[in-house]
Amino acid sequence: AGVGRRLDAELLEELEEALLVSDLGPDLCDTVIHALRERAKLDSGTGLAKMIEEELLKAMGERQQDAPRPPAGELRVILVVGVNGAGKTTTIGKLAHRLREEGGQVMIAAADTFRAAAIEQLERWAERAGAQLVKSKPGADPAAVAYDALGAAKARGCDTLLVDTAGRLQNKKNLMQELEKMGRVLGRALPGAPHEVLLVLDGTTGQNALSQARLFSEASGVNGLVVTKLDGTARGGIALAIHRELGLPLRWVGTGEGIDDLQPFDAGLYTRALFE
């Protein structure tokens, strides 16, 4: 949208298309366009780009509450969940690396005991990041692996435990129950755990991300989002629709396949990319 343009009908149409193409979804898009139309009548002072960004930030929530943390000195447990292929394992590698760079001791639980070579894949990442790893055999009970990893993390004085889980589609009730059990087991082993439950969303996902957010939240108490693959052409507008509906904060953005390709969420950058 050009900085000098007025907010007329033609521009609103162009903007609507840009927001839809960014996967905001028709509902949220209508809300934003309607709000802009109203504002344009009353407020001709604010620059157009600024106005659009402000309306989008209302949906996004400019100030995200900080991630929940345990009391000082206690182990922090982060459970990573999401559908198949979203980028959970890779994101854990990146997070572990970041935490290590900040001087932390990191333990990873290889609790995807189902998919072919999932454990091997995570082992490579743990090695690259300088993190410790607890694993079992393929087919082992995922909650048991997480439990063992938690014990080992405490014993070895780690400050963060990252738990990788198998990808699963949210409509599979038995797999969602498996996640519920994982959460309970972690909470019994360490009251308050898991402190963070991150839902990893593939940035190319469309409106199905809403269903993912709802059902994963129900099963495992998601309290943060990661949107991956934003180094592509997808804009990840679904994160706004999810935030608007469920209030979930976006914590991290994945911007590539390398170990450094993880950015903390920046509301201004994120929202501007949706309509530029």
């Binding site: 979804g25 028709p26 198949n84 072919a116 894949q121 269903s211 592509g232 052409t233």
Partner: protein, 291 residues
């Protein structure tokens, strides 16, 4: 469902008043919303509803006994026709083994689908052979090796960390072993990654696959047309595999990808196990998209 929405709009008109063009317009705007919620691309939606509007006005909705039903029928028929009337089979090579190349964005299901296809073909009495040409993703080769072991299908490992060399030598080894169908798994990549797309072009140029399958995650949103059209532009793929349709996504990406590339959706992935693959059914997909 969309039928309910139409019944809602056109209900009051059965037998009493004549339905008007503005009623049709209201129904059309419901379709637009439904298709966008189903992740059909905005430009594809626009073209589609223009066609539907013309047909609805011209055909029989205005005079129909049950306009809601008539309208739904036009909609569903049109959708099915656009998705591709008949399921299309694999393009078998006339002479020599058939090479099938799997390509697509990261995490779409290429490796798993290569395994599933190998399994399906083996059950049909063919002699499949898998080539692991993803040298980038950690343990990608291990993943395909494990699948090959589960299926009893040979897997060719990378040579010199070089996907091109691997494809060429893998094909030679497959021929030596008398395989009749070679499935080449490649690394996921972005359509805007020049180097990685050039790598695929080079491999394609050298081994000349008779089938290039674009593997897409059914839950992909508006970005489907960007990825599909660029992969098509550079590789001229011959078919599409739509994965993770065992989820609850409406799968509008099927219509977007098909409209924008004209290529047939050949298979759908319906689960994580190696037997979870089927031929594509346009009628079932149409119903699903309409919700």
């Amino acid at each position: 469902s969309i039928q309910d929405r139409f019944d809602g709009i056109l209900r009051g008109l059965k037998g009493t008043a004549k339905i008007s063009e503005s009623n049709i317009e209201e129904a059309v705007s419901q379709i637009r919303r439904a298709l966008l919620e189903a992740d059909v691309n905005i430009k594809v939606v626009r073209t589609f509803i223009n066609d539907v509007r013309e047909e609805a006005k011209g055909e029989g909705v205005l005079k129909a006994v049950s306009p809601g039903q008539q309208f739904t029928k036009i909609l569903s028929d049109k959708l099915q026709e656009l998705l591709g009337g008949q399921a299309e089979p694999i393009r078998w090579n006339r002479e020599g083994p058939t090479v099938i190349m799997m390509v697509g964005l990261q995490g779409s299901g290429k490796t798993t689908s290569a395994g599933k296809l190998a399994g399906m073909l083996k059950k049909k009495g063919r002699k499949p052979f898998l080539i692991a040409a993803d040298v980038y993703r950690p343990a990608a080769v291990d993943q395909l090796v494990v699948l090959g072991e589960q299926l009893g299908v040979p897997v060719f490992r990378p040579i010199d960390d070089d996907p091109f060399k691997t494809a060429v030598e893998g094909l030679a080894e497959a021929k030596r072993q008398g395989a009749d169908t070679i499935l080449l798994d490649t690394a996921g990549r972005l359509h805007i990654d020049e180097g990685m797309m050039a790598e695929l072009e080079a491999i394609r140029g050298e081994i000349q696959p008779s089938e290039i399958l674009f593997v897409a995650d059914a839950m992909i949103g508006q970005d489907a047309v960007n990825a599909a059209s660029e992969f098509d532009r550079r590789l001229a793929f011959t078919g599409v595999v739509l994965t993770k349709l065992d989820g609850d996504t409406r799968g509008g990406s099927a219509l977007s990808i098909r409209s924008v590339t004209g290529k047939p959706i050949k298979f759908v992935g319906l689960g994580e196990k190696l037997d979870a693959i089927e031929q594509f059914h346009p009628d079932r997909m149409a119903q699903r998209i309409l919700g």
